[in-house]
């Protein structure tokens, strides 16, 4: 098995490394690039805890091979906010859209992508966007509230 050279933008920073092709994007992020916000939940594309944005689109990083992102832009929770929290992060804090927190990075990444697409999403749009993220604590009511809060924060800023 030959290693593959991969260069891509991770959270705005150029990274370059050789990786075994049987690493998933998630494994490369967590084990080789110390980027720990994407979580390994089901490792089969059902739970959304590993959600990252690849060229702006939410995807399950457990269902991509590491070399696939060569030349692309990958955004994880680490790169979402700057000095200040991103509106999606602030929304989850303000509305307390989390309990144990393990699913939260995935939810926030999907939320950030949704707000890029729709500045004022309806409850149905929020539900459809987040159907690939599973939370076993909150019962989702606060998460929907968090997305609405994030949308209004983003509109004001």
């Amino acid at each position: 098995m030959n290693r593959v050279h991969v260069e891509f933008k991770l959270n705005g920073q150029h990274v370059s490394l050789d990786v075994e092709p049987n690493y998933t994007l998630l494994d490369m992020l967590r084990l080789k690039l110390d980027t720990l916000s994407p979580k390994k939940g089901c490792d089969s594309g059902d739970c959304g805890a590993c959600t990252v944005l690849v060229d702006g689109k939410p995807v399950c990083s457990c269902l991509m091979l590491a070399p696939q992102v060569d030349g692309m832009e990958v955004l994880t929770l680490e790169g979402l906010g700057g000095e200040k929290l991103h509106p999606a992060q602030e929304g989850y804090v303000k509305a307390f859209g989390l309990q144990c927190g393990i699913c939260t990075p995935g939810f926030i990444m999907t939320t950030a992508a949704l707000l890029e697409k729709t500045s004022n999403p309806t409850v149905d749009e929020i539900k459809q966007a987040l159907e690939g993220n599973i939370c076993r604590c909150t019962g989702y009511a606060q998460i929907i509230k968090a997305v609405e809060t994030a949308a209004s924060i983003k509109q004001r800023s």
């Binding site: 098995m1 030959n2 593959v4 092709p21 049987n22 690493y23 998933t24 998630l26 494994d27 084990l31 390994k40 490792d43 089969s44 594309g45 059902d46 959304g48 959600t51 689109k57 939410p58 995807v59 399950c60 457990c62 269902l63 991509m64 091979l65 070399p67 696939q68 060569d70 999907t110 459809q128 966007a129 987040l130 159907e131 690939g132 993220n133």
Partner: protein, 306 residues
């Protein structure tokens, strides 16, 4: 901990020609990686692996398109489900294909999964296969030396087995824009609304004549046999019947039960699936017929919309 995956080499061609050359050279030892949403799950279940190399075709932009050419619609095999879901061309020509996108996986999955991958993976309930049967779609398959076209109906050989030979790549899906007076619908029964495999899916296309009689019907059902199936003998019997003559149509549809042969799974028993194949086909026909009726009345100017 790193996920255990079998060992393989990786290559990422940048053109279709290069991809076909590689597939030709490895002659059956190569695995094609499109969206990967099925392939990666499959690889994670394997400790031994008979393929040498994964051929990542995601950079073949030439296979990512939806366009109308005359009375035909052409869809590149690498077109993502999310693109199909939002496609104006499909909404105008074959909205049942956008309906497939509405209930397909999750946003994350729709952003990566491709129509070609969904077809080539050949699950017996693959959504696009069922919907495309109602459109009488054709598939274009290329290899380095050759090219062939076959109907989607012939493509599925068994559950998870499609008619793709070593060295071949599915490159394009095409179908004729349904004639005036047609309506079509796709329906799916799942354990839950998103991110689960269909238990039964169904598709119907119905074309009505000016007397509101069924001129043509095309019916397909998935999850009810080792492959998605077309129900031609039932289609024949519907021809000439009036759109509102459900008392005649309904007993005819019971015949569906004798054409299906599902297996019991964790999700549902064989007996239940037989019943649901009938129920979901009936619903698809009703939805398709009412759309066809609505459309033909619109065209005839009978006043549904000014």
């Amino acid at each position: 901990m790193k996920t255990l995956l079998p060992q393989f080499d990786y290559v990422r061609p940048s053109s279709l020609d290069e991809a076909l050359r590689i597939l030709d050279r490895y002659d059956g030892q190569a695995e094609v990686l499109a969206g990967g949403t099925d392939l990666l799950v499959k690889l994670k279940d394997k400790l031994t692996y008979d393929k040498k190399i994964v051929v990542d075709i995601n950079r073949l932009k030439e296979l990512d398109y939806v366009r109308r050419v005359g009375d035909e619609v052409l869809v590149g095999a690498l077109t993502r489900v999310e693109t199909l879901y939002g496609s104006d061309v499909l909404r105008q020509t074959a909205p049942l294909l956008t309906e497939v996108g509405h209930e397909f996986g999750t946003w994350q999955i729709r952003n990566t999964a491709t129509i070609g991958g969904n077809l080539a993976n050949a699950s017996n309930s693959n959504d696009y296969g069922v919907a495309l049967m109602a459109l009488d779609a054709k598939l274009r398959i290329k290899s380095f030396r050759d090219e062939r076209t076959l109907s989607v109906e012939k493509f599925f050989l068994a559950n998870h087995k499609a008619d793709i030979r070593p060295g071949e790549l599915l490159v394009e899906v095409s179908f004729k824009v349904p004639a005036h007076g047609s309506g079509a619908a796709f329906l799916k029964m799942e354990g839950r609304e998103s991110s689960s495999y269909p238990i039964i899916n169904s598709a119907a296309l119905v074309r009505l004549n000016s007397k509101q009689e069924i001129e043509e019907a095309r019916l397909a059902v998935g999850g009810a046999a080792p492959t998605p199936i077309r129900l031609r003998s039932v289609e024949e019997k519907l021809r000439g019947l009036g759109l509102n003559d459900w008392e005649t149509i309904d007993p005819l549809l019971l015949e569906v039960k004798s054409h299906v042969n599902p297996s019991s799974t964790n999700a549902a028993s064989k007996r239940y699936k037989v019943e649901m194949a009938y129920v979901y086909l009936k619903r698809a026909i009703k939805a398709a017929a009412s759309r066809a009726g609505f459309l033909s009345e619109q065209r005839a100017g009978t006043g549904l919309r000014k």
